[in-house]
């Protein structure tokens, strides 16, 4: 026999496998200067020691570009859990990938005028994202390059 039931909005029913954040498009204050993107940092706070976040970060340079994988990571626990992600070498975009000459595992994204990030994460419990940051270096140049349009 058909039965109906009551559902309620539960702010604690927070499990998500598909949370997404598209950041603004960063130009780091100068859209005409090339930058190298070294690292991405993000700080989480879990509500319990068992709160777990699995994060994947993508990036793109222009509004309608396809997203490229930047990196991923997982952390768990309370209080200021910090993830730092370095770009994963992407053979499909080698022209903008730079590997450290002394350690091939260190990769930077180069020739960046503007960059937007997509943060995708799964979380089993309530978590907070407290901040995120991009470490970059502006490339010294004697001439001003036209930004890519």
């Amino acid at each position: 026999m058909a039965t109906s039931r009551i559902q309620k909005w539960d702010s604690d029913n927070v499990y998500t496998s598909n949370a997404e954040i598209y950041t603004r498009m960063f130009d780091m204050g100068d859209p005409h200067a090339k930058k190298k993107i070294n690292e991405f940092f993000i700080t989480f706070t879990g509500t319990t020691s068992q709160a777990m976040v699995s994060l994947k970060v993508h990036y793109r340079f222009h509004n309608n570009d396809t997203w490229k994988l930047f990196g991923y990571g997982m952390t768990a626990g309370t209080g200021g859990r910090r993830l730092s992600l370095t770009p994963i070498y992407n053979s499909g975009t080698t022209f903008q990938m730079e590997q450290d000459s002394t350690d091939n595992s260190i990769v930077r994204i180069k020739d960046v005028y503007t960059i937007q990030l997509k943060l995708s994460f799964a979380a089993n419990q309530k978590i907070e994202i407290n901040d995120y940051a991009i470490e970059y270096r502006t490339v010294r140049s004697n001439s001003i390059s036209e930004p890519e349009i």
Partner: protein
């Protein structure tokens, strides 16, 4: 240039997808999904809807967008005395939680060599290379098999489990060729690299499959065994499918170019991974993809056969049941085969004490296998140790090892096995033992709590199906008037005082027998013990769920409590009321049948005041009359002890004087009860009990009421000619028109008297300075007869008010005379009791509230009205025009403000006597009369020239917000005077198309349409999609919004979180996937927007949303698919 950092730590600007993402503010994001930004400096993951397990299921199916209301009553449902019953639901029937688990291919902390389950660490094995940097390029093929072993509870308790059927391969059982593997007979191009052998036109994989059941083999080879799929829920009875040859995912680099190096997320399958005939191999799915995408695609390709799906989450893969079966699953290795010696799940780790607090054969519920500690995946990660018996990963040369007697760990342990192969490790060369395994998994501290964190490949499991259990604890001693009804799936079981003994044990036992022997006896199983009745579904899971309600149906009074009610009208026009007092739904058939036709297409609108619920069908379907539900508990009627009206009733909302209250005046009528029109008092013989006068129970039969008006020569201020009338007075202060007019005739009563057909009434002539004597006599039903429903008046009615009119006013003004209160006697125009009720001493069946004693001379049996009150007119006292033509209307919208009900989109009987629909008209009730809608004088027309219809009506801050499709009108009714109400403002393109596009918010009203989302809080109409910051700008792209918003979208407000939710669709079948549950969310705390994917009522239709007194936002849902509170699948 030095390194620099750009940091973002403010997010309260929310989503802004309208502006260019280069130009949005630093605290804004271009897109937000499944997160909240309701606090400065924080992004938190979003809530979701979940079943409210504090409330049992109701019967029937909702009407999408309509049919739910909440109100409070000062009465509960629990009897004040006698047999009492306390109802609880110890266990809600659930299908459990979809078995789910995340396989993380990230580098494992315990594997210092950078290995992972995809990348066989055995590549860095026995040569003792201290650097552990063996060339991965040697490995060109990985074989990955993921099998699931189903476990089902051995009984309804869900404590013990046993394997069910054979392991289920996640790869390659389907008919699609996309992911078939190397053993296909058509593949004849040679040998696979690294040792795969070609035998019998098939490739044999060299991992350990020796425990496969050869007897099940179709061709004598161990890789080609068959198993039977599940059919109709019975494992092993379905079609036979192969295990071996196509159930493993083979990842090959045939051209030996790419390496399995680094993190699998970076494995990209480009053209180098193509095969010559596109079989057997994981290769790019269309374009280059990473390995996890390929695995997800392979699993999903097979989902129709395996019943499992996958999605990528972060760096891992979440595998989950398509439909939760309630079973447990472990990810496979050979020990779980049904030919294995280990037969029960309790033996998996028996003796190893890996699971804490477990004893053999018990306590191994599905939850123990949860990666999360509770069903909702919101609790802490399970502290019970997770058996890493997860994925069989084999390098082509095979290096499976496991502790003795723990073959179950074989394969799964490959990924850390290099501890035993690394010459620098202290465990080099050792045979793995449980202790060494634990030491590596648990870390140096040996804390098993860290196991889960270390082992991201832990088992993810759902919870099992649970059978619904309802429990009723009876207490007290039954007494006369006690009765309880238990309704199970619409089948009522009634027990009244006298059916069984009077003890609680008797009642529980009696119900037990009645239920087991009743129509639902096969659906539920009843038991009783010491006055406790337990009713359990005979089928575990939601398929066996049943509606259960218990409510008193006796004649005893109920407790006075503040009872929060939820009213639900289903699509069969059945009203059910959830009572906080009794903790369940009242499904009383005498209460819930609202008698509407075409109920599935009805659009119920409800409002409540004074503990009474009103409901109307906005479709105005024929005979779908507005109704009221209310509890009554009167005092002694007509002064008769215990002659009371008790109980809840559903009745017509119409408060007009009913024809049934008047004995037929015209000859065509049939009523023989009510007030008698022939009301002249000519002499004392009318009441003196002699002859054939009215003081005779045979003449004044049951429910006949006699009023007599005598022109008295005693001095008074009554002059001229007068007529007399009666109106119905109701408990909430409402009053009908004085429709009953008394007839001035001098008719001797006869036994067969009905009324003088066609008698022409003449006025009472008081000439000059006379007075009025009123005599009243009635024959009320006895207490027993009233309990049986013989009382003729509306239960809301508390008395009969008497009026008179004068010739000098052309009989057009009604003046108050007094009132016969059914319990308090005769009241004068000030409401002061003149005479109480008394029984006639002449005729015991008759009662009166006039005079002090029966009189044969007429000297002591009357109320003497000396003077009239010229100011006490009907309009002054009652508040609406006495020349109104109709008092009742059906309506599509209603709101209460200024102690009036305002209804809109109405159907009523107009001046011409015709029933007409006015869908752009409003009617206001008189003050404090919440069921009276006088027309034509209380009609409010705002703008009838716009050709539009009223689509919604709300009130806030002394204003009415009248919504039409194209515009919204604000009408100022702050002083509650209809004459001074005025149209304050008109707002084009701020209308709505459906009433469920409007919702009350904390300080006003919010609504949504194609042009945006708006609020009104007493000042201006505010567009919530326009930023209120210093940089005024649109926050949400309108095109995107208009793709989202439709007539089927619905708005809700969650006061506990102070957020507004706009859900995409109330009809689950109208959307692909679960898009109906997508939401836009406005955070009032920060004035910002975000979105949610599949967060609000997934896979189900829903009613409108309401807010309970504790601030909980709820809706009623129905759907055949989807689960409640399912992790990742909020429904």
């Amino acid at each position: 240039m030095p390194k620099d950092v750009i940091k973002i730590d403010k997010f309260h600007g929310g989503q802004n997808n309208s502006a260019d993402p280069r130009d949005i503010l630093s605290n804004e994001q271009e897109f937000l999904q499944n997160v909240h930004v309701d606090n400065i400096g924080k992004i938190t993951n979003m809530g979701a809807s979940v079943r409210d397990i504090t409330k049992t299921e109701a019967t029937g199916t909702p009407i999408p967008g309509y049919g739910l209301a909440t109100y409070n009553s000062g009465w509960g449902f629990t009897p004040v005395s006698g047999m009492l019953a306390a109802h609880t639901t110890p266990t809600y029937g659930t299908d459990g939680v979809q078995a789910t688990g995340i396989i993380d291919f990230s580098e494992q902390p315990s594997n210092t060599q950078g290995g992972n389950i995809i990348r066989p660490t055995s590549v860095s094995s026995v040569d003792g290379d201290a650097t552990i940097t063996r060339a991965d390029s040697d490995w060109n093929c990985i074989v990955l098999g993921i099998f699931l072993q189903k476990w089902t509870p051995t009984d309804a308790t869900g404590v013990d489990y046993t394997p069910a059927g054979n392991p289920i391969p996640l790869f390659g059982t389907g008919s699609s060729s996309d992911f078939k593997l190397a053993s296909e007979s058509s593949y004849t191009t040679g040998t696979l690299p690294n040792g795969a052998t070609y035998t019998g036109s098939k490739y044999r994989m060299p991992w350990n499959v020796t425990t496969f059941n050869a007897a099940g083999s179709t061709d004598g080879t161990d890789y080609n065994e068959t198993y039977n799929q599940e059919l109709n829920g019975i494992p092993g009875t379905g079609a036979a499918l192969d295990y071996g040859r196509n159930n493993f995912l083979v990842i090959c680099d045939l051209k030996d170019v790419d390496n399995f190096e680094g993190h699998p997320m970076s494995y990209e399958f480009d053209s180098n991974f193509s095969s010559v005939n596109n079989i057997n191999l994981v290769y790019g799915v269309g374009t280059a993809d990473n390995l996890t995408d390929a695995i997800v695609a392979a699993i999903n390709e097979n989902k129709d056969f395996s019943g499992f799906e996958a999605e990528e989450v972060g760096g891992g893969i979440r595998i989950f049941e398509t439909t939760a079966s309630g079973a447990c699953y472990t990810l496979c290795s050979t020990f779980q085969r049904d030919d294995d010696q280990i037969a029960t799940i309790a033996n998996i780790e028996d003796g190893d004490n890996v699971w804490e607090d477990a004893t053999n054969g018990t306590n191994y519920q599905g939850g123990i296998f949860n990666l999360w500690a509770d069903d909702s995946m919101q609790g802490e990660i399970c502290t019970d140790t997770i058996v890493p018996d997860l994925v069989m990963v084999a390098g082509m040369s095979g290096h499976d090892r496991a502790p003795t007697d723990h073959d179950s760990w074989k394969g799964a342990l490959n990924w850390w096995m290099d501890y035993f192969d690394d010459i620098d490790e202290p465990t080099y060369g050792e045979t793995p033992t449980v202790a060494t395994v634990k030491s590596h998994f648990l870390g140096e501290d040996g804390n098993e709590d860290t196991w889960a964190s270390l082992s991201q490949i832990g088992l993810g499991q759902g919870s099992p199906k649970i059978a619904q259990v309802e429990q009723v604890v009876f207490s007290g001693t039954a007494a006369a008037g006690n009765a309880w009804t238990i309704d199970i799936n619409g089948t009522e079981h009634l027990q009244v005082y006298g059916d069984a003994g009077n003890t609680a044990t008797n009642w529980a036992n009696h119900f037990n027998g009645d239920i087991d022997g009743g129509a639902q006896g096969s659906a539920v199983d009843a038991e009783d013990s010491s006055g406790t009745l337990t009713v359990t579904s005979t089928t575990a899971g939601t398929a066996g769920n049943f509606s259960f309600s218990i409510y008193p149906t006796g004649s005893t009074g109920v407790t006075r409590v503040d009872d929060e009610r939820i009213a639900f009208i289903n699509n069969a026009a059945k009203l059910q009321i959830h009572s906080e007092d009794i903790g369940g739904w009242v499904n009383d058939t005498s209460l819930n049948n609202i008698g509407w036709s075409s109920a599935s297409s009805a659009k119920p609108i409800m409002y409540a005041e004074g503990g009474a619920l009103r409901l109307s069908d906005g479709t105005f379907a024929s005979n779908n009359l507005p109704k009221v539900v209310q509890y009554f508990e009167t005092g002694n009627l007509c002064g008769i002890a215990n002659d009371i009206i008790v109980g809840h009733e559903i009745m017509s909302q119409d408060l007009s004087w009913k024809d049934a209250y008047t004995i037929d005046y015209e000859g065509g009528g049939t009523a023989t009860t009510g007030l008698i029109r022939s009301a002249n008092y000519d002499d004392a013989n009318d009441f003196n009990g002699s002859g054939t006068d009215w003081m005779n129970a045979s003449y004044l039969t049951k429910n006949r009421w006699k009023f007599a008006f005598e022109v008295s020569s005693n001095e008074g201020d009554w002059s001229g000619k007068h007529k007399f009338y009666a109106s119905a007075v109701y408990s909430d202060g409402s009053e009908s028109l004085p429709t009953h007019d008394f007839t001035n005739t001098d008719t001797d009563p006869l036994a067969s008297f009905i009324d003088a057909a066609g008698t022409v009434s003449t006025p009472w002539d008081f000439e000059n300075n006379s007075s009025l004597k009123i005599r009243q006599l009635c024959h009320p039903p006895t207490a027993t007869e009233t309990a049986g429903g013989d009382w003729i008046f509306d239960s809301r009615m508390i008395g009969i008010r008497l009026w008179h009119s004068k010739e000098e006013d052309n009989y057009s003004i009604y003046y108050h005379v007094g009132m016969v209160h059914f319990t308090d006697g005769f009241l004068n125009h000030s409401g002061i009791q003149i005479y109480p009720w008394r029984a006639s001493t002449t005729e015991s069946a008759l009662n009166t509230c006039t005079g002090t004693a029966d009189s044969t001379s007429g000297a002591t049996d009357y109320v003497h009205i000396i003077s009239t009150d010229e100011d006490d007119t009907f309009e002054n006292r009652i508040g609406y025009d006495s020349s109104s033509k109709s008092l009742t209307a059906a309506y599509q919208h209603a709101t209460i403000t200024g102690r009036r009900v305002w209804i809109a989109g109405v159907k009523y009987t107009d001046e011409a006597g015709a029933n007409r629909v006015y869908n752009d008209r409003m009617i206001a009730s008189p003050v404090n009369m919440f069921d009276v809608f006088p027309t034509p004088y209380n009609i409010i027309d705002v703008d009838t020239s716009d050709g539009d219809v009223i689509t919604g009506l709300k009130s806030a801050h002394g204003r009415l917000l009248q919504f039409k499709n194209k515009a919204m009108y604000i009408i100022n009714v702050a002083d509650s005077d209809l004459q001074t109400a005025f149209l304050e403002s008109t707002h084009k393109y701020r209308g709505v198309s459906k009433p469920y596009h409007i919702i009350d918010i904390a300080n006003g009203i919010a609504w949504a349409n194609k042009f945006g989302v708006f609020k009104y809080e007493g000042d201006d109409v505010v567009d919530l999609m326009i930023s209120s910051t210093e940089d005024t700008q649109r926050l949400l792209d309108l095109n995107t919004w208009q793709d989202f918003f439709s007539d089927n979208a619905i708005i809700a407000y969650a006061p506990l979180d102070n957020l507004l939710l706009i859900k995409r669709n109330i009809d689950a079948s109208a959307e692909t996937g679960a898009a109906e549950a997508d939401v836009y969310v406005f955070e009032f705390n920060t004035g910002s927007w975000t979105t949610g994917k599949e967060r609000l009522v997934k896979n189900k239709d829903c009613t409108n949303f309401i807010t309970l007194k504790d601030g909980t936002l709820v809706t009623m849902v129905f759907g055949s698919s989807g689960l409640d509170g399912n992790p990742g699948n909020p429904s």
